[in-house]
Structures are given as C-alpha cells and as structure tokens.
C-alpha cells in the first residue's frame, strides 16, 4: 500500500472538512433564513462545482494563484511559498470544489429546525449565538455531520482539480487518486488495484455512515 499517498489523502480530506465546517456553517446559517433576492446568485455559486468540470475550476485556481497575480503575490509575501503544486494549494482547490457537498446539507439541516423553538429561545432572553449553540445545532447536528462526512469522502476521491493544481508530486500533492492514475501508466496494476480497493472500501463505509445519520427514526 502507498501509505504516503493515503496519509496525504486523509490530510487533504480532513483539512477540507474542517475548513468547510468553519466557513460553510456561517454561510449555511445565512442561506437557511429568508434573505434578499440576490441571495439566489450566492446559492448558484455554491452549487456551481456540482456541474462545473474540475478542469475549469482547476484552470481558474491556477490562473488566480499564479506568481504574477494579486492573490499569488500576497500569498507569497505572507508565507514565502506559492499555492500551485503545494499542499495548501490542493486544499484550497478542494475546499472550493467541495463547497456544495458541505453547504447544501448544512443549509437543509438548519432549515429543518423548527423556527418557533429558536424564537422561543430568543424571547426567553437567550442570545443568538447561545441559541444557535444550544437549540439549533443540537437539532441539526445529524445533517451537519452528514454534510461533513460526505465532504470528507468526496475530498478523498477528488482527482481532476488536484492533478491540475497540484501536479503529481510524491509526498506533497500525489493523493491516492492521482497515484492510481500514475500506477496505471507505469503498468503497475497491482498497486492501482490496492489503492482502488482502499478508496472503494472507504467510500462504502462513509456512505453507509451518511445513510445511518440521515435515516428518519422508525
């Protein structure tokens, strides 16, 4: 087994899930409540990666983070390295690509919470943040967790964006799905078969977990 690639893949998936929890949940909170009409556009942007080819996203990320762009210059000044062909680069791409896999389930879970309970809490003088933490999140946690697990699984298997933004650098950006592509070209079918089986197994486990989470109690 290619442990370096497995570890890297798990790192990418964990970072993606954690970042999308931190950034996606506030966004979902905003999307879950009634808001201005132009919010439609935000919803569409969040859903874009569902239909956008990974190559398009990869191309834009490469263009946006190159050494001669504002983002590229700012990042290099701040961290002394560049985004393309690095671990932070593929995490960034992965976060963008997985946006709908986190934000959409989050939004649905938050919308399923009975708003009367939230308002009752407010009327009792509990702050908005405390209400969210003590009322909304406990009622919506299954959906939020399902979104995170789905994000994790999807990030583990991402290929096109990672290959375009990350290249194929052993130990840095060669995730398991890229390693499989590489092994097949090297005619190393047994290595490709092992890695594929690993990804197949984890996908099955993760999807079963999601089913368990979202299943309505009997």
């Amino acid at each position: 087994m290619d442990w370096t690639a497995i570890r890297l893949t798990l790192s990418v998936a964990s970072c993606t899930s954690a970042l999308l929890f931190a950034l996606g949940l506030p966004l979902a909170v905003w999307l879950a409540r009634p808001g201005p009409r132009w919010r439609l556009v935000v919803e569409a942007v969040v859903a874009l990666p569902l239909v956008l080819p990974p190559t398009v996203l990869g191309f834009y990320v490469l263009c946006a983070t190159g050494p001669h762009t504002p983002i590229g210059r700012w990042y290099e000044a701040l961290f002394g390295s560049r985004l393309p062909f690095t671990f932070p680069g593929i995490v960034l791409a992965s976060v963008l690509y997985n946006l709908p896999f986190a934000v959409r389930p989050f939004t649905a879970a938050l919308q399923s919470v009975d708003h009367k309970l939230v308002e009752a809490s407010w009327c009792l003088g509990v702050s908005r943040l405390a209400t969210f933490r003590r009322i909304t999140l406990p009622l919506a946690w299954k959906g939020v967790l399902a979104g995170l697990v789905l994000t994790f699984a999807h990030a583990m298997g991402e290929f096109g964006v990672v290959l375009m933004v990350g290249g194929n650098i052993p130990g840095v950006t060669r995730t398991l799905s890229v390693a499989i592509y590489d092994d097949v070209q090297a005619l190393d079918y047994s290595a490709a078969a092992h890695s594929s089986l690993f990804l197949l197994g984890s996908a099955l486990v993760v999807l079963s977990a999601v089913q368990l989470l979202v299943r309505k109690p009997a």
């Binding site: 003590r134 406990p138 052993p170 090297a186």
Partner: protein
C-alpha cells in the same frame, strides 16, 4: 446538546490531525521522525521532508523514461549514498507549462530539446543551459494476443480493417506523439487512420492503452517496448528513422533547484559511460559516454 458538543470536539480533533501533520507544513518545522508503529514508506517520506535542502533531487521526467530512469536513479544512488531522488513522469509539454509556473522540480528531462531550450530562454534554466542526453525512437507495437503481424507487415498494418483504435501520445503535449503523427504522415497513411487515433496524455499512457488491449495498435517509445514491464507482452516494428524528425531529448537544471550540484551530478552521470550504457539498453542513442 451533548451531541453538538461532541461534533465540535470531533472537529477540534480533525483540524490538528489533518492540517498539522501534512508533509508540506513540516518544511519549516524542526526535523521530526515518526515512531515505530508507522510503515516504512511513511517514515521515509517524513524524513525526506525533514531533511535539509541539500542532497535531494526532484526530477520531472518525460514518460518515455518511465522504466529507464528508475534504473539510472538506482545506479546513481549507489554512487551517491545519502542522496534522495524522486521522479515524476508525465508529458513534456505538461511539465513545460508547470515549470513555466516554477513547479517544484530541480531537473527536467524532456522528450525533446525544444522545451528545455524555451525554459532557458525564459530564464527558468540554470546558467549552464539545456543539454541533449539521448535520441529516442518510436515503434509500432501490438499485444501478443493480436492477430496483426506488425513485425512483418510494418506500418501498413495500421490501415488493416481489423484495427479499430491506434494509441499515440497527444501530439499537443508529447514530443513522442508529434513523432508518431509525423511518421504516419510521411508514410502517407495519416488521412486514412486519423479517425482511429486515440490519444494518451503522454507516451506511457498510450502504451498502457495498447498494452491493456483497449487499443489494437500503438505508436510508442522503443524505451517502453523493450522495458521488462512490456517486452514479453507484445511485438513491435521499429519505425524508420527517416520517417520523422529525430527525437533528440534534452534536459535542463532549473534555476530554483534546491541542490543544483546534485542535479548537475545527475546530468553528468546521464552523459557518462555508466549512464549511457543503461540508456542504450533501453533503446536510446545516448548523447554522452
């Protein structure tokens, strides 16, 4: 309530577990090693990242070197104990565009001389410029199971009705693909077979397509056809030299190489007698040695 806290606790674990341990992030940190229970390969990659900048070589190699380069690297490493060399394979054109964006490689071994030359012109190469290291060849390859007699029939078998798909490397990104197209054109069969052509991103992918039987024939690098991985699986016909411009393969040490001396040492080894004999065994005409 409790469950929500559990979710937050889970995330607090996820963040350091995922982001804290990634190999790239360790470059700036103090050297560290994993303890016993980790696998060998895993521990090794930790060490690679923790090493000082020197004594490490990252090669971006054209896919025709897929089987020859590991042998060259093994021989070089025997002469330079302690050096860590890793190679990534792909199409030269793809590497060219990555290197134009300063991808983290130290040495580029292309399947042509034009890409290294252009990198030098763009000031991405080191001062010693590009260097030719070998001339490659292309062959028409068919798997053992195929009824096509490529060894006797030669290139005309490409127009055989039994041939549905012919794998070549993508001529836009791979010099070997351009050589294949040039050969088909100069032998006057390109128009007839154009609709049967399928493109691998690089020549190793084209070889994989025909090795697996997905394509009936392939025009691939001789260095792949004679490799241990492929030589017993099919038959080939060498495409005449004069059917395409010579495939002069060149390399360049990148200006941002971590250990330029090690990269130059590897270049010198490629051009030495020892390197040349390995290249020759894989069907190349070495430039040095």
């Amino acid at each position: 309530m409790k469950q929500a806290h559990r979710l937050i606790a889970l995330l607090l674990v996820l963040v350091p577990a995922g982001c804290g341990n990634n190999p790239a992030a360790q470059k700036s940190g103090p050297p560290r090693r994993d303890t016993g229970d980790e696998s060998q390969g895993h521990a090794q990659s930790e060490t690679i990242e923790a090493l000082p900048r020197a004594n490490r070589l990252r090669i971006a190699a054209a896919a025709d070197l897929r089987f020859a380069l590991p042998e060259l690297i093994a021989a070089f490493e025997r002469m330079h104990p302690g050096a860590t060399i890793e190679a990534t394979y792909g199409s030269s054109g793809n590497f060219f565009s990555q290197l134009a964006n300063q991808a983290p490689f130290d040495l580029f071994l292309s399947a042509d001389i034009d890409y290294p030359k252009r990198l030098v012109e763009q000031r991405h190469g080191s001062v010693d410029g590009e260097f030719p290291y070998a001339t490659g060849h292309i062959v028409l390859w068919a798997p053992n199971a195929s009824s096509l007699d490529v060894e006797q029939g030669g290139l005309p078998v490409v127009i055989d009705e039994a041939v549905k798909k012919i794998a070549i490397a993508n001529p836009n990104t791979a010099p070997y693909g351009r050589a294949a197209v040039a050969a088909l054109k100069s032998l006057g069969v390109y128009e007839a077979v154009e609709s049967k052509l399928v493109y691998g991103e690089n020549v190793a992918q084209a070889a994989q397509m025909v090795e697996s039987g997905a394509a009936d024939l392939g025009i691939i690098a001789l260095s792949l056809a004679v490799s241990p991985a492929m030589r017993d699986k099919g038959r080939y016909w060498p495409i005449p030299e004069n059917a395409h411009p010579p495939i002069v393969q060149g390399g360049v040490v990148l200006s941002w190489a971590l250990d330029a001396n090690l990269a130059r040492a590897f270049r010198d080894y490629l051009l030495s007698g020892g390197g040349a004999s390995i290249l020759r065994r894989f069907g190349f005409e070495p430039a040095g040695g």
